[in-house]
Amino acid sequence: MATVAGIVPRPVHPTGVWAWLTTIDHKRIGVLYGVTSFLFFLLGGLEALIMRWQLMRPEQAVVSPEVFSQLFTMHALTMIFLGVMPLSAAFFNLVVPLMIGARDVAFPRLNAFSYWVFLFGALLLQSGWFLGGSPNAGWFAYAPLTESSFNAGDGMNFYALGLGVLGVSSVAAALNFIVTIINMRSPGMTLMRLPVFIWMTLVTSFLLITAFPVITAGLIELYFDREFGMNFFNVAAGADVLLWQHLFWVFGHPEVYILILPAMGIVSEIIPTFSRKPLFGYHVIVLSGIIIGFMGWAVWSHHMFTVGLGPVANSVFTITTMFIAVPTGIKIFNWMGTLWGGSISFKTPMLFALGFIAMFIIGGLSGIMHSISPSDAQQQDTYFIVAHIHYVLFGGSIFAVFAGIYYWFPKASGRLLNERIGQINFWLVFIGMNLTFFPMHFLGMDGMPRRQVTYETNMGWDLWNMVATMGALVLAAGIISFVHNFFWSLRKGEIAGDDPWDGRTLEWSISSPPPEYNFAVIPTVNGRDAFWDIKMAAGEGQAVGEQSDVDPSSIHMPSPSYWPLVAAFGLGMAGYMLMYSYIGAAIGVVITIAGIAGWSMEPATAPSEEH
């Protein structure tokens, strides 16, 4: 069965925009994820800056309460679902096959599909700004404020449909990476020789496929309440609105581990490389990651300590939450054990990785304070929580993202990011971040609730709000310096070569950027830190590996395809049209099915290729 009745053949060596639209190469998909999600990260940052401007002084009216509620909702949704998660996906894409000695992921077209669905889901979620109002009930959207009776307008529909579509992207990608990691490791790479980044990707992927169905159920219930007058969260009809909270947080807590485990994986690669020592306590770090993955399911009601579940439930969740600090803490000790006795270089990737450790310690400690349910009754829903969130998500995940970008940008582009600008970038972001979020601990304990559009001057919150806003400006300057570094280095960065960092893992054994097929010869691995072992065994000056002996044209890579884009487009269209026209939605579904059909029936290679 040929391609679409032979009308639009499967692309062969496409160029330009068409190449990007039809790519199934994990490296390009990683770049697509990275650039798209970084743009959304900037958007989320802009939303934050507007909020900080509004809160800089008491009793201001820079934005209306309605707009402010959309800002804090979209800031969180953008940062979590369109920022950190796809940035992690960018790294999974770019790095996982390279680290395990594979030529691509298990399902390259599914990989592309995940990206395109992400893009359409992201656009759907953001459409509210232009189409009548964004979601405005906070990122955890507690019922019944989200019901139509309290929330007319389309905003919460964008929420339900946008996140629903994004969920498809995440689950598809997670399945792909699980299969890739289990099945496509190079010979000799047993599970206990996997780089920790791969392990964290694996655990994260399992969390994704198990957690997303839970919120999808909640989103469907919310959507059905709003659109079809069902009563899942309708108190008058006898519903228990806490059902939403349970569904949300059963997803939501594993979700925060989805946000942090990849970051921990990145840091676990960078610390050893820049200390020139293997990761201390590899088994323990891997095991603790797996344990966190399991324990993360047992703590969700710590988000509900003040909801009135009763002292028994609160006590149980206090205990489980306190104990999840143990596997988390052990990672920190092991990273420090890696540093101890090492030869530590403070290049920018390492600065961000060390910053991650320093900031995550603070975020983790405030997390332990939250776990104590009686005193959490004072902290819940205040800026103390906002402080905690941002120490772990910015000081944690985002710092690790920057560390990863500075670390792997040379591999992806062939050029190093400028080191001097990188140092400036780091210090501005580090100082800015602390100036912005540390005072929020004080604001919270001083009684400032979350999600306040304004506050009275006699509350005593003026000073720290001003400081936080100043900090946000410093932070913004740091981010701008990064953007500058990125564009400058693409053109003028120092040529990286294969192995600019004296790396320990397989991606550094091939060229920067790698050829389409990654490895001419799939490497055989004899231990952990596979590349380091190869280098040490080879000794100084000897050529590493026989990559150059193979004729590249003999390596058969899958051809690009446009069907993932078609199927993703159909899904995005269906999502949109559910808001406005059921016929349109049906057409979207038909396009999706057609896309999947074409995808499954297109020939493995374009007929004109000769192999």
Binding site: P65, Y142, P278, V284, G308, A325, S343, I372, P374
Partner: protein, 357 residues
Amino acid sequence: MIGKHRAKLLPAVLLFLMGVALVVGCTPSHPMSTFDARGPVAQVQLDLFVTLFWIVAVVFVIVEGFLLYTLIRFRRKPGDGIPKQTHGNNKLEIALTIIPSILLLILAVPTISAQFYIADPPEGERLDIQVVAHQWWWQATYPESGVVTANELHVPIGMPVKVELQSNDVLHSFWIPKLAGKMDMVPGKTTHMWFQADHLDGDPQTSERDAYYGQCAEFCGQSHSWMRFKVFVDTAEEFEAWQENQLADSVVPTGQEAKAGATLFVGKGCIACHTISGVPGAVGVRGPDLTHVGGRSTLAAGILAMNESNLKDWLEDPEEVKPGNIMSREAAVYTNAEFALTGDETNKLVAYLQELK
């Protein structure tokens, strides 16, 4: 690269600044400060927080300090070879797992004990209050005496108060930081919390006797930031007097303006949403009970001091004062041009409301 010396100094400077900030930041003198525990529930919660804070501070100093020390001692120097490739130390791992676990187990004891303590008031005499949250005001009933009021509570000093919490619409949260941690108000359910106020004065930093500040602490819609309330702590005698006054019918207006205002209150449709006991037909429950509104210290749910000027602002343009509020969307005087208030009419209404002590 930025000078190595400066780079090393920077984290130390930042940590010092953090310490200074901590000292400055933890001031009990602000109206909603959780550090100014003025009753046993807030005290237990604060004690637990402070205990945890010191543990966390010690851990922080040790761990971050160790990190800094490691970075300085093992920084790469010219001529460094490849360091010893150690892989781990099982004994250390076990110790570093067991020690935190034991610490947490120890912490769990006072934590759970406190959790049960704060859940229900002790046996014995207590005052019961029922608070129903509305978007965006607080309805309060004292079941034993029958007092019905809004947005301001009075409680006697030194007596446990059990507050039953409900919601008329969406999630809200009842929070008086100086007296106790918060408890959410869940539509369709009844939750409860308790507190005891051991001090008459809500703010020892000022010379007058102050009320305690409360605020809604669960996002509940547009006017969430303007949903506040006050708690007054009375002596036993003051509390009796307050209750008696609350139970009495509304004051019959005496002044010319106030009498005209009373008529307007009915004629302009205010009675559709507000109750004023003793005024026939004024049995609305959409908005707060206004029987004794003139005697309250604030209006519009704790956001403005109760005085002539603020009352005028509120009646002239409630949307300006409290964006998103219900009154400006539903009251006839704002939605129907025929009912609109003239400046003169506003003054009369203000005069009337001020007399309702």
